[in-house]
Amino acid sequence: MNRIDARFKWLAERKLSAFIPYVTAGDPTLGRTAEVVLELEKAGADIVELGIPFSDPIADGVVNQEAAFRALKHNVSLHDVIGMVTWLRKSTEIPLLLFTYYNPVLAYGVEQFAKDCKDAGVDGVLCVDLPPEEDPDYKRCLDAAGVATVFLITPTSSPERVELLAKSSTGFVYYVSRTGVTGERVSMEQSVKGAVESIKRHTSTPVAVGFGISTPAQSAEVAGYADGVIVGSAIVRMIGELGDQPEMPAKVGAFVKTLADAAKSINVGVHV
């Protein structure tokens, strides 16, 4: 069984929500990113999202853009990140998901990409600017390799699209909690809970929520109704501020523990 599916199964048996942190791979270096992944696992992360740096990240707010540009200063590529996953698999079984833009995957070659993901131990891929209908080969190759394909559902998705996206997603469905780019928000929108419930009527695949979650209180709130809580920019900002100092991974781990503990402080569906 794919590590993502196995993890969600384990969590569901305990009525717990997954905590899913995002970091930009290669910021400040790939070596530091690998250390951070191991700290995130210790801090209680269930799945880690690794952002592939891209020169034109149109779906990202300024925090993630700057992290990508820092990684690109030393030319961190999709090949390099897959290589880092191979290395990480010597010491951890934590489920790993690549969060990427389409053009690096296209340049890599979709078929080769799927094969290398499988060989390295990548468990899933989210391609933020690839709607499922634009490249059927993408899903076909990743399905064949046993690598999960996660797609985004957003507040603007029509009912027909929610059905298509829920059907196309394996591993989990990623619900974008508000229209806009990645980044921290002061408050969560009320409609998120209803949207998650409506998606769950279309699919038995777990539904995780991201974009804008940055505090333990928000993490606990979302964990009350979603199968997973995704936090990105708040962690990426902290990594950016601490930079390449030796104690950075441990400090990031300590911050993430507060978010992960909050997500586990509540049972999914208890307050529904």
Binding site: P104, V128, T154
Partner: protein, 413 residues
């Protein structure tokens, strides 16, 4: 006469692109974050409904005639023709359209469309500033709020246009990320649109981006070729033999070419920006140096590295300084229907001066690339051939930039 008459009208034959999926062969499509998928479907439907609405078309036509000043002249350039000693040269004078370039054709059409859709706010990207000025103008005319994103390097190169946009009541927001040029301005405009898609329409300025943008822009720009066909028939009683236009995203070129695309005898050349020369890596010649890739929602030719990261580009002309090209141009290049060439910075600057002296027309540096390639081709053609060059914009905006290259860095106009 019956046969001759047909030359003055657009052929009524079917042209199948884009297909139902927004593709031109393997190019085009709609590669965007999910937030934009439904809004793009809505835009496609709203545009189809406006296109079929005689009242919308009549409103647009009235503004084109009375506000933009269309039709723009098709001018026989006698001295340029004598100088080159080859084919007869006509210039399609888009520089004489209101705001000084062809960009107003698309901007006015899209702002009218946005108003019909009930949008309250307009955003746009701009490179040279011509599309930003055109959009700011249309928003002033129709009373909509407007915000234009522009790379800070381009703002420096095109200070005059920045001031013009602000004078027209628009907000101009500098983009500091990445290469600080057009592609980064598009990134920022897309981020704004993703966030404010409910009340905001994004007026994309060229035949680029996700479907239906390349189609909408082609439709609004193809008035250039329709007019040119009728005007040349009036003056010469025949079709042209060759069309030449510069290609950044490619909207002025599609505007001139599209009406003739099914006329097999009409040859077409699109001219990209060669910058310091494709061999230097400092250029924007996508067909000479790019590979198939996806940028800003469309599959096309893209200047990128082996890892799929988009490369920085260089051109003396901000309007051609872009890493990708409209998907329909990529399709025409693949089928061989249109030939694509490039002109380097210094060739464009020579052409800029040549046409200023010979015809009393100071062209935009973008349009000077088309003239520069004509310098190589026209002298080799028979004297009874007819060439139309799209003079896509006027050069007032470029005078201080050109002075620095021609007179040296110390020139300060």
């Amino acid at each position: 006469m019956q046969q001759l008459k047909s030359l003055s009208e657009t052929p009524n034959a079917p042209y199948p692109y884009p297909d139902a999926r927004g593709r031109y062969g393997q190019f085009g499509g709609r590669y965007v974050p999910e937030t934009l998928m439904h809004p793009l479907q809505e835009l496609e439907e709203a545009y189809a409904s406006a296109k079929a609405d005689p009242e919308f078309q009549a409103t647009l036509a009235a503004f084109q005639a009375n506000y933009v000043g269309r039709p723009t002249p098709l001018y026989f350039a006698q001295r340029l023709t004598e100088h080159w000693g080859g084919a007869k040269v006509y210039l399609k004078r888009e520089d004489l359209a209101h705001t000084g370039a062809h960009k107003i054709n698309n901007a006015l059409g899209q702002v009218l469309l946005a108003k019909r859709m009930g949008k309250k706010r307009i955003i746009a990207e701009t490179g040279a500033g011509q599309h930003g000025v055109a959009t700011a103008t249309a928003c002033a005319l129709l009373g909509l709020d407007c915000e234009v994103y522009m790379g800070t390097e381009d703002m420096e190169r095109q200070k005059l246009n920045v001031f013009r946009m602000r004078l027209l009541g628009s907000k101009v927001t500098g983009v500091h990320s990445g290469t600080k040029t057009l592609k980064d301005a598009i990134n920022e405009a897309m981020r704004d649109w993703v966030t404010n898609v409910g009340d905001t329409h994004y007026v994309l300025g060229t035949v680029e981006g996700p479907h239906p943008y390349p189609l909408i822009c082609r439709d609004f720009q193809s008035i250039i070729g329709r007019e040119a066909r009728a005007q040349l028939f009036e003056q010469e009683g025949c079709l042209p033999d060759l069309l030449i236009a510069c290609v950044g995203g490619g909207s002025n070129a599609i505007g001139l070419f599209f009406d003739f695309i099914l006329e097999e005898k009409v040859k077409m050349i699109g001219v990209e920006a060669g910058g310091f020369g494709p061999e230097t890596g400092q250029h924007a010649a996508r067909f000479a140096g790019g590979v198939i890739g996806m940028l800003h929602g469309a599959m096309s030719y893209v200047l990128q590295d082996a890892n799929g990261q988009i490369k920085g580009t260089h051109s003396v002309s901000a309007g051609l300084d872009y890493a990708s090209v409209g998907p329909e141009h990529a399709y025409w290049r693949t089928t061989g229907r249109v030939e694509y060439a490039y002109a380097n910075d210094n060739e464009a600057l020579d052409a800029f001066q040549l046409i200023s002296r010979l015809e009393g027309i100071i062209p935009a540096l973008e349009s000077a690339h088309a003239i520069a390639h004509a310098c190589k081709v026209v002298p080799t053609l028979p004297k009874d051939d007819i060439v139309i060059i799209n003079l896509s914009g006027r050069g007032d905006k470029d005078v201080s930039q050109a002075a620095r290259f021609i007179l040296g860095e110390e020139a300060n106009l």
